[in-house]
Symmetry: C2
Subunit: 277 residues, 2 copies
Amino acid sequence: MKIGFLGPKGSFSHHVAQEAFPADTLVAFENITEVVKAYETGEVDYSVVPVENSIEGSVHETLDYLFHQAAIYAVAEVVQPIQQQLLVTATDKPVEKIFSHPQAIAQGKKYIRQHYPQAKIEITASTAYAARFVAQHPEENYAAIAPKTAASEYDLQIIAEDIQEMDENFTRFWLLGQSISDLPLYPKEKKMTLALTLPDNLPGALYKALATFAWRGIDLTKIESRPLKTALGEYFFIVDINNEKANLVSFAIKELETIGITYKILGNYTVYTISEK
Amino acid sequence: MKIGFLGPKGSFSHHVAQEAFPADTLVAFENITEVVKAYETGEVDYSVVPVENSIEGSVHETLDYLFHQAAIYAVAEVVQPIQQQLLVTATDKPVEKIFSHPQAIAQGKKYIRQHYPQAKIEITASTAYAARFVAQHPEENYAAIAPKTAASEYDLQIIAEDIQEMDENFTRFWLLGQSISDLPLYPKEKKMTLALTLPDNLPGALYKALATFAWRGIDLTKIESRPLKTALGEYFFIVDINNEKANLVSFAIKELETIGITYKILGNYTVYTISEK
């Protein structure tokens, strides 16, 4: 099979694709929209896209595209801890400039200040771009903050491991495609993500929507309002619900419809972790 | 008075500070945390920080800092439409490279593809950085996508106006400091932003929290769950409520407390626009 992921090679999306599909052909795409479109047009069999980071929040490019423009949904979720490494082309050089994505720089700031207080910081579009750029300039005294996958992808040396400050940094990735059940990962729980559009203005309608879940004891693990992009102040709501009791959930969804709340299923999936714990 | 804002000069934060405090001393800070701290330490009298963009969503650095670390809250909100200009040092040169923040690049992509299909795109940390960088290299054929404020700040020429694709792009800015009532802007509505921490796990508690507002007909204009950073899967909730009926709101808040829901006020403010419409 062919699997699309958010590139360049060495990104966290790439790592998730490698772990979920170790024997398949992985194809990098330039941005999230291109990854999703690759599945829509049949160019790949599955697409791997980030959907939420515990620090930065939702990846709106993914959620908005699925809500506004696509007729596909997530069939699996992979939770990837975000651990950052300091990478160089050779360990015997000084580090004068450090490249990375703003979040990785923020996460590694404490380590950098202690160990490389004189280094200049340069921002890149992603951690994997930073690693690729450093690899392309071996004559310079450059370093990148990037994932382990980027070290092996671009043949870089790790001079400092896990330099991120917070341990609670993880990203949720979604697999878009046909239902799949044999991923070589660790299944944890079943969830569903819905986008709700309410019939008239808040608060009554949102309250009723949540009531359909609350009455049935269905756990809500995330809720977020997003602008509908039609008029200022109109929103849709993204909710993540526990889907272990699938029958109860399907009743709740039917009830939503009968009271005039429109829903779109953005995902109906098992949540997997990459390591066992 | 001294007013802190998210720099560098020429940023949208700078423009909001200029409009709200036309006669005061404006001081740029490097990142959001520094802007907030400048108010906390008494270095400035007010701080201007972004809190939400209609496309990118919440600015978590602002909300998380106010929730986790600060004892201050927003006293005014300014809604700033995001309009992007294409800026150069001289209009008689070709444009070979265009610098900007990823969101501004995405917003201007259609225009750039049509008019400068050959130009290379380079990512910067902010639109104002891009403008400053272009101004510092007049010998190069560079352009920046940045706000109008940046053009006057860095003495750049606007070669294309309002090149952003979506009209519904605006950013909410918060003013942190002592209560203030005489801003030279257009007051629209009164709002309050609360961070709610629920006593036990969802869904019952969130449902009850929303009930205290719904029963009183208090409009909820935004809701978002954020990781508490204590354990995976524990959240706090940011809600924006209409505060025109301040008595009803204060009853609702008291009721929250009596049922065991903890709240922190992140903002109690009038929403202002910069132009009249």
